[in-house]
Symmetry: C3
Subunit: 240 residues, 3 copies
């Protein structure tokens, strides 16, 4: 069912696809069988969407990064690949050059910048923002209003709670963009980060470690420990 009020410029559309009113789908976009496109969605020309994925109103897939005032050089490919069985939006934004695995959920207003690689069965909840070139492993959940900075690396089965902040530049942007000095946190498999925690540039949170709510992580966290406080210190070793 393609609404007569939609603008569909591609013919690469599978069986049983629904496109609702006032959606805009550009030439060259590919929609797998059973994809549902709600009203007011925009899908750019390099976007490929797996079967049975549902895209809620106002979501934008295929935004080109545009950067007056951005200090680093912006590079991206126009392609986006979204796996089957995902649910995206409403009002989510996926920039060019992103890949998303099977059955992943993007909440309202979630936004993924260019170069993102998101695994299968992930949740990126409402208003979660991922900056450029972030990797997220399978089965990882990131809760509402959390920001993941550019060049972060997040493992599998990780849980990141709400209101978490991450940073990638110890100079706080004061010296422009020095590519060699910029790196976000690394969070290894099965680690968990509590609400309102803050992770500073380059820190590694080891496998299975827990960062308590409100902690400010300034140094690497060993695998399998619980850290708390500001600055975060080891409180105890977790039983495996």
């Amino acid at each position: 069912m393609i609404s007569k009020h939609a603008v569909v410029q591609t013919d690469l559309i599978g069986a049983r696809v629904e496109v609702h009113e006032f959606a805009v789908i550009r030439k060259g976009a590919r929609l797998g069988d059973g994809v549902v496109v709600h009203p007011h969605v925009v899908i750019g020309s390099g976007v490929e969407i797996g079967a049975d994925t549902e895209i809620f109103p106002g979501t934008v897939l295929g935004k080109a990064p545009k950067g007056p005032a951005i200090s680093r050089a912006i590079e991206f490919v126009p392609h986006i690949v979204i796996g089957p069985g995902c649910a995206l939006g409403p009002n989510a934004v996926v920039f060019c050059g992103v890949e998303i695995g099977t059955e992943t959920l993007l909440g309202d207003g979630a936004s993924i910048r260019e170069g993102g690689r998101i695994g299968a069965r992930c949740i990126l909840s409402r208003h979660v923002t991922l900056n450029y070139d972030v990797t997220v492993g399978d089965d990882t959940k990131i809760m509402d209003n959390t920001h993941i900075t550019g060049l972060s690396c997040i493992g599998k089965r990780v849980f990141i709670s709400t209101g978490v902040s991450t940073a990638n530049d110890n100079s706080l942007g004061l010296y422009g963009y020095r590519k060699e000095a910029i790196r976000g946190p690394t969070i290894e498999d099965e680690a968990a980060v509590g609400a309102s925690a803050t992770l500073l540039p380059c820190v590694v949170v080891g496998r299975g470690a827990i960062v308590a709510a409100g902690a400010v992580v300034t140094k690497n966290v060993e695998p399998g420990v619980l850290v708390m406080g500001c600055p975060a210190r080891v409180v105890r070793r977790l039983s495996a």
Copy 2:
């Protein structure tokens, strides 16, 4: 005035209703007298809107929760009741199964999940996210970018500042969804929570208590006291 560019599938529309361009209103939705629907709004079939409520562009009323990767069972009713005199959006999202009282304001991008019960004369400011089954009493204000976790209970005349995080699972999601172990904070009438504060699962903030900015609340807070710090401790008793 119904724009010829809108899609209006219901005829349950009161007097003096305005529906602007590219809005989509599904069959069965009810709009009271004087309701204003701005461009690009989507209103689902089970939505009932009180008189003189104004719905700003891009707002979505009646989203069904859809949860690939959500570990709990999702239940909801398709019905939404929104009281008279409200202002919603732009780009706000109200899920199915929500009730909102008279003259309440939802800021841009505010989002209320299924089972929400919001009182009269509340403000849920920009990008505020309420998870499932949250109760908010009359005359309560929740400021920008704050997240209220599922199964939280917030009283009347409460003030919650900006950037506040709340959590409902002490196991940080590591054991899946264990319904009996999940509970958000309770914030009693006339309490206030400062900017960037964090409330851990199950804590009760007593009537008229104040949680200082940046505090991490790990235990119940007695009525009428001021708490500060990480973990939050009582600083003094407030005069009534």
Copy 3:
């Protein structure tokens, strides 16, 4: 190129303007040469847009503040002036009575309330919310999910990281809106504020000072010092 699916009620449109599908542009709006308006954008009647500015899908320019439940009296002018070479959105919101300088970037869902004065070459990143009557100087960057409270004053070449909260009312809204008691922070030129920091009402962060990640600033910060902790204390003087 004006899409036949757009609603364009103004004729004050420059050369080489693009207006895409389902955009709505009200009578009296002015678009400079080379402006690009993506699908589902709404531009109100008092909006003036400089040359070559690009407005991404779902962005709303010219929202009138509407305040059931807002305790202060709301005043605004319908006019908005946006400089040349800006990039706005997707899903950004600019209220009435705002001015934005040359080549400034608003990220997805960024929102500027009435009375905002934003300089040139600024970045207000994703989901950044500015409340009413905020001033931001040239070349200032405010990162994702940060909230700037009403009546704040931010200088030039300032960097404000992600997840920063600011407050303007020491009584936490408990006594209604007392105009004489309300004031946001002042952040002087070239200062930097780290991730998850909190700035309390009326504080002044001096020129070139640095507020560390997670700090809670309760008192004025002298120019040129580094402060840390909760409450924030001077750690050292920065070399100039």
